[in-house]
Amino acid sequence: MHSSSESVLEVVNLKKSYGQFVALRGVNFTLNSGEILGYLGPNGAGKTTTLNILGGVITKTSGEILFNGQLIEPTSDLNYKLKLGYLPEDASIYEHFTVEEIVNFYYNIYGLDEKRKKVAYELLEVFGLSDYLNRQIYGFSKGMKQKLLFILTVMTDPEILLLDEPLASMDAESTIIVREIIKDLRNKGKAILFSSHILEVIEKVCDRVVIIDKGNVIAQGTMDEIMKMSTLEEFFTQLTGKDVLSERVEKAKKLL
């Protein structure tokens, strides 16, 4: 972990409702500089909703978000967004742009300097995408789009990185490269929120972990604290109801 870690992003009692449905029921956590915070939970737990709120895509129902100690509204705070890199799970991107055009688009929107553009082109080479510079993104696989979005996200040199299942569709080679880049960015003092439901990835990458279920944070701590008790998988299933889970497995087996 980065030696002088300090709170960059603070989430206080964050709530989100869609009509009668409550997606987040008061989430609290802190993201420090120079750390990778794992955000773990089963499908539908509220991970993407949290990241969408922090990424300024949707509004919160209530709660507070503090960026470097200042209260902010992510949907409209330009200064915050300029320092934020958000890689969404759905890999949505302007598909009819060519790779070169999308790089230029980010370059202009973020008002970057030429150096950062060069970084993007070099990363395209690292990920094996440099041959596709003049090709429309339309025909890309989801994995390729995710790699491209990852490059675009880090090219902006963000202070905070929000990564929602970044490795979900990537090949083994790219997974290793992304993992190493993320660790390197952590060492350079970036604050990274890494959301995933894959325990193995969280174990390998994260310094601390926040576990969320049904819109509530049910546990959080450093990886060492958690790993002392048991493996992350055991810890996770205990928290989310191991007995119920095994019952469900048995039921499914009988049905099939």
Binding site: V57, I58, T59, S92, H96, I109, Y110
Partner: protein, 490 residues
């Protein structure tokens, strides 16, 4: 606000519009422009009116129709699309920058449309009457119309921005489409009234009457000078209309619960067996619950109703009959697409797996749509005719004409786009857009024009024969569809 970011977003929109279309989309766009040209051209010839105001009418009408079509045909993404909003919200872009870029885009389209429509109309005018429209008037009309469209579009964007600040993207898109539809409906309603202003400017006199006609607030000024029931109603409408729009904007996904007695009555009247009951229930469910169906159906229907109602105050009976027939025939397009483009295709997916003849299902779905959507609108048209003081006998004939042509067109639209119904790929490709655009852009005005022709020469006998002919054709097509097993392309 950063000008660089606005230009980047504008460049992005232009790139996506021109480069982002697959071949079929580009063809559809070209057809839009051709249709626009054709409509403007025929307005000069078919309706035997060669005036600048007809040109403006053609322009605003087609511009309006294009926007309406855009969101009915799901081509709405040329201005707003959900994914765009979702992506942009992740980026360091202010809402006002985003909407300003969109305003520039719609301004550009306004200019292109203006040029295309006026070219069509000028050529039509020249062919019909060897008349060359005076350049300065055409230029002024062009400038005015474009200014009108752009300025108001910008105003609406600013308003929407304020209203929907912080809303989720799907809702924003739905509401913006509805608001835009209503807004252009309103422009459409008042567009012919721009012509007297031009005439007045041309002759050097600008009377209050002209301002009364084009400026909503002038009604309130005029009412202080000249009190009449008509003025009072017009003033009330200017208040009612925004309220109606606000209500529409606020409509949500509440389930509509039908009264048991109504259900029983429906069963008694309509349902002969279980299969049919299932189809009628399916259509009703879509009408009541599907967001996309409501979005497709509600706004254009309300626009049609409001425009026709507003016109009934300041247009003669013959024009009202003509426009009544027009909007009624146009309802066939709205109703068919409301049914087809919505979740119905998903239902068709499920139903094709059930042991049922898919043609029969769709034919029944159409009948239900006609019954629940077009006939009630027909009743409204009849009421407007009667409200205008048209004798019942004279009012019924055009209404029936509109209804039977509408019924016929609904079958026709289905035949040109079955693949859209039965396959997700077909739906996404919009493979039959060209044919349906042809039906809605060319055949609907032609059907209304044909009626106008018959009505003008007072050939009621021929009109009755035409009605019977369309009815028989519509029924035969329905029968054909019900017996047909549509190819289910995957």
């Amino acid at each position: 606000m950063s000008f660089k970011r606005i230009l980047t977003l504008f460049y992005k929109d232009i790139t996506l519009f021109f480069k982002g279309r697959r071949k079929i989309r580009r063809k559809a766009e070209i057809l839009y422009f051709i249709s626009l040209f054709v409509v403007a051209f025929f307005m000069a010839i078919l309706y035997r009116r060669v005036k600048v105001q007809t040109g403006i009418f053609a322009l605003t009408f087609t511009f309006f129709l294009y926007l309406l079509m855009s969101f009915i045909f799901e081509l709405k993404h040329f201005i707003f699309f959900e994914e765009d909003i979702r992506i942009v919200k992740r980026l360091p872009v202010l809402d006002k920058e985003y909407y300003t870029a969109k305003g520039l885009l719609i301004g550009l389209f306004g200019i292109i449309f203006t040029v295309v429509a006026f070219s069509g109309h000028s050529i039509g005018a020249y062919i019909w009457a060897r008349t060359i429209l005076p350049f300065y008037r055409v230029f002024f009309a062009l400038l005015l119309s474009t200014f009108f469209s752009v300025a108001f579009a910008m105003f609406i964007y600013a308003l929407l921005l304020r209203i929907f600040r912080g809303s989720d993207s799907a809702d924003v898109v739905a509401k913006i489409q509805i608001a835009l539809g209503i807004f252009f409906g309103l422009i459409f309603a008042f567009s012919p009234n721009l012509a007297p202003l031009l005439d007045a400017i041309d002759s050097g006199t600008v009377s209050t009457n002209v301002w009364f006609r084009i400026m909503p607030f002038a009604v309130f000024v005029d009412i202080t000078r000249h009190f009449s029931v008509g003025n009072l109603i017009a003033a009330a409408l200017y208040i009612v209309f925004p309220l109606l729009a606000a209500l529409l904007l606020g409509f949500n996904e509440k389930e509509t619960k039908k009264d048991d007695k109504v259900k029983e009555l429906e069963r008694f009247l309509l349902v002969k067996n279980r299969k049919k009951r299932g189809i009628y229930a399916l259509v009703l469910t879509h009408l009541a619950r599907s967001r996309i169906t409501k979005r497709t159906l509600i706004a254009p229907t309300i626009i049609n109703m409001v425009v026709l109602f507003l016109w009934s105050f300041n247009k003669d009976a013959r024009s009202i009959i003509f426009f009544g027939v027009w909007t009624l025939v146009f309802m066939s397009v709205i109703a068919s697409l409301g049914l087809f483009i919505s979740d119905s295709y998903k239902a068709a997916w499920m139903l094709k797996k059930a042991p049922l003849l898919n043609g029969d299902i769709i034919a029944m779905g159409l009948n239900a749509g006609f019954l629940y959507i077009v006939i009630p609108y027909g009743v409204f048209v009849l009421v407007v005719f009667l409200f205008k003081g048209i004798h019942l006998t004279n009012a019924i004939l055009p209404t029936i004409y509109g209804l039977v042509v509408s019924y016929f067109f609904m079958q026709l639209l289905l035949i040109v786009r079955p693949s859209m119904l039965f396959s997700r790929a077909g739906f996404e490709r919009g493979i039959n857009s060209l044919k349906e655009l042809f039906v809605s852009f060319v055949l609907v005005p032609m059907a209304a024009g044909f009626f106008n022709f018959l009505y003008k020469i007072h050939s009621f006998c021929f009109l009755k024969v035409t009605i019977v002919l369309f009815l028989v054709l519509g029924y035969l097509l329905n029968l054909y569809i019900s017996k047909k097993s549509f190819k289910l392309d995957n």
